[in-house]
Amino acid sequence: MLELDKISKSFGAVRALRDVSLEVRPHEVVGLIGENGAGKSTLMRILSGSMRPDAGAILIDGRQVVLRDPKRANEYGIAMVFQEQSLLLNMSVAENIFLAQEKPFMRLGAIDRRRMIEAARACLAKVGLDVDPAMKAGELDFAARQMVELAKALALEDRTDAPLTILLDEPTSILEAKDVAMLFERMRALKSRASFIFVSHRLEEVLEISDRVYVMKDGEVVAERLAAGVSAPDLHAMMVGREVKGEYYREARQSPPRADVVLEARGLSVAGAFRDVSFALRRGEVLGVAGVIGSGREELTRTLFGFLPQTSGTLLIDGRETVLKTPTQAVAAGIGYIPRERRIEGLVTDISIAANVTLARLDLAMRHGFIDHKREKSIAEYWINRLRIKTPSAAQLCRNLSGGNQQKVVLARWMAARSHILILDHPTRGLDVGAKEEVYDLIRDLSAAGAAIVLTSDTLEETIGLCHTILVMRDGAVTARFDAPARAKPKQVALLEHMV
């Protein structure tokens, strides 16, 4: 019914999808699993019309189609229910369901609200949601809003003859168990009218609801199985694949951490995000935090840098109890932050390298209360040499640097500021292999010099390779703690078990 044939997509140097082929038949639920960065989101975006593939074909009932935009995808019966909600919270449920599709309800130039509400009620009945369609979407809870989105997707039935394919992108990651059960019940009931692609990292759930499962890894489909014939551990193994050979992560340079604790968390919690996180980070230690989206690890890193003060629990920096209310306080406490979005939060791309390097500690470049540009230049040049940043001069604007070099400038800033605690948020995202290896070397240098590092990474492999200790989080809580000494690294499967 719906077929993807050798779809490929690249973003610059990064190959997100490589010859992906899959198939959705009528009245079935197809599960799609894979680690972070496996390509699932990109695939969904291409299928829903938000993005065009670089190569490959999409076929509906055997005919090749071009999904120019989401509206066109709708015409072919493809509808997406997003991971981040896409309802307009300031408008009613009925208005959301029929957004931009009001024509059938027009009478004498005016919208017939009553008819629209009735029609909305019928749509909601299809998914078993009993709410007043005139209610504002913002007044519903998350699970209900998800159902409305599903209803909105199903409303396509009346507008197109094409068979429906509904894409569900991580629909359950923030749902409670009872809501998940309801969702699945609805999906089974709806299989007579639509097929589903169910993307999720929760393997048990995927196996429960799907008829067939595709496993993706590094942008490729590595396996296709009937859900009945496979188990979660099998899927784990397929998701993870090769174990890395050699010194890719410079494991040999991993020296044991020192004794003094610089950053300690006791029962740290942010209401609604994570709870009861405890760890004691020592000098020279690299602590990894593993978890999928919704596990709370992203929020944890933000708390450690003052973006999101904790609502309960204690944070101790160098033995002193603190609540970091702003990044300014975090920097003053000696913490540095390498953000995930380098170009937005990491660098001010329209000012020079030198200015970026001194940004966190401008006083280092100041003399008698004024900026000494010569001093600033020499500081910058020191770090350019030390980190081997490829640039003609320190006055170069950061926007012109490559990703890897930009990352080095951000690192240089915190090294110049002599931060003794570093929060690395996906530090190798978007970097090519060579740049990644340089970053790994730098991380080893830093930890050898005594810096304490908290690391979140895109891949389990990287986390395991680089870290001394790993915390695994799921649904806001720490579910496991692993030691990862140089010669006795845990297996990825072991971590995965506690993540999903």
């Binding site: 307009l88 919270l89 009001e102 024509k103 078993g128 519903l140 809870d141 159902m147 995000a273």
Partner: protein, 345 residues
């Protein structure tokens, strides 16, 4: 508010000691009920307070001429501004449009500066010109992709310039009796100006509630990227909204020329500020998506009652602007949605 499901659930809910965890999506988005009613309460409170301080506030004469009539033009201006602000944009060009509109009416109708006597062509052309200015706003904003405040800032001054150039720096008196009568002729004890304003109000209300255009305005204000993904014609709606605002500005301009009986260089002064104050005080959010035409009616009335009250109480008119300034700050500060970390420019 929780949702209920059609199919009954079996068994008790799984209760455990640890609390259930949700992402940071609030379950109730937006102002609570009390905050939504606030503008109305403020209006009622103001009227009561004024009535106590000076009972002549409630005299029929004052209500008609002091409040309703003086609120007529601001209300019409607020109609156009509301649609723009609902989208999250701003229209700074109101004063320029007023300048152009009043100038056209004055120059084309019977006046004391030239021999023209084109009667109703004056107002008609003024409407067309102001709508055209609004269209220009929309095109510059959407096609040249310039933020609305800059686009309308430019058009503001272009309009102001055109208006004052044509006037040659002085004023022109409108002598046409019929044109002037649309401001003063009374129907059922209320001046025509009030009826025209009421008509514009209901027209705007119809557009907001009953047309797709109105829906789309809210959609753009509530989440433009989501709206675009759903197929809402964002560009077209934006341009249309600015042109519509231009139309409302034109009606206001015609009425202003009629009311004042002349066009001069200062006729438009202070209107922008008052209009934005009225819309914001009425409860329409500057970030878009919340509020509406009915809110703006309340807001205009609040501003009008306040101005009337200050006159009745003998307070210097110069305090008006100061008070308005403080009012708008208070209104915006109170309406800001908590917990959304936007970067405000």
């Amino acid at each position: 508010m929780t949702s209920t499901w059609l199919s009954p659930r079996a068994g008790p809910a799984a209760g455990s000691a640890a609390p259930k965890w949700r992402a940071l999506a609030p379950s109730r988005f937006g102002a609570i009920g009390l905050a939504e009613l606030a503008p109305l309460l403020v209006l009622v409170g103001l009227c009561v307070a004024l009535g106590l301080l000076n009972p002549s506030f409630f005299s029929f004469r004052n209500l008609v001429w002091g409040v309703a009539n003086s609120a007529a033009i601001p209300l019409i201006l607020a109609m156009g501004a509301t649609f723009i602000i609902l989208m999250g944009s701003i229209d700074l060009s109101i004063e320029g449009a007023l300048s152009v509109g009043t100038m056209i009416v004055a120059l084309l109708c019977a006046n004391d500066s030239n021999a023209n006597n084109f009667g109703w062509w004056g107002p008609l052309l003024a409407l067309i010109a102001c709508t055209a200015l609004g269209l220009a706003n929309g095109l510059v904003h959407v096609v040249l992709r310039i933020p609305s405040f800059m686009a309308t800032l430019g058009v503001w001054f272009v309009g102001l310039g055109i208006g004052t150039v044509a006037l040659g720096g002085s004023e022109i008196r409108v002598l046409d009796r019929t044109i002037r009568s649309i401001a003063f002729e009374r129907v059922l004890a209320f001046p025509l100006a009030v009826w025209i304003a009421a008509a514009m109000f209901f027209f705007a209300l119809f557009l907001e509630r009953k047309t797709r255009f109105g829906r789309y305005i809210y959609a753009i204000g509530g989440g433009e990227d989501i709206a675009a993904l759903s197929g809402v014609p964002v560009k077209r709606t934006r341009i249309l909204a600015f042109a519509l605002a231009g139309f409302f500005n034109g009606v206001a301009a015609v009425l202003a020329a009629a009311q004042l009986g002349q066009a001069n260089t200062t006729i438009a002064n202070g209107r922008l500020f008052m209009t934005v104050t009225a819309v914001v005080v009425g409860g329409t959010s500057l970030s878009g998506g919340w509020g509406g035409i009915a809110n703006s009616l309340i807001g205009v009335l609040i501003v009008a009652v306040l101005a009337n009250g200050m006159v009745l109480l003998g307070i210097s008119p110069y305090v008006h602007e100061t008070v308005q300034g403080l009012m708008i700050i208070a209104a915006v500060a109170l309406s800001v949605r908590r917990g959304r970390s936007l970067i405000v420019k």
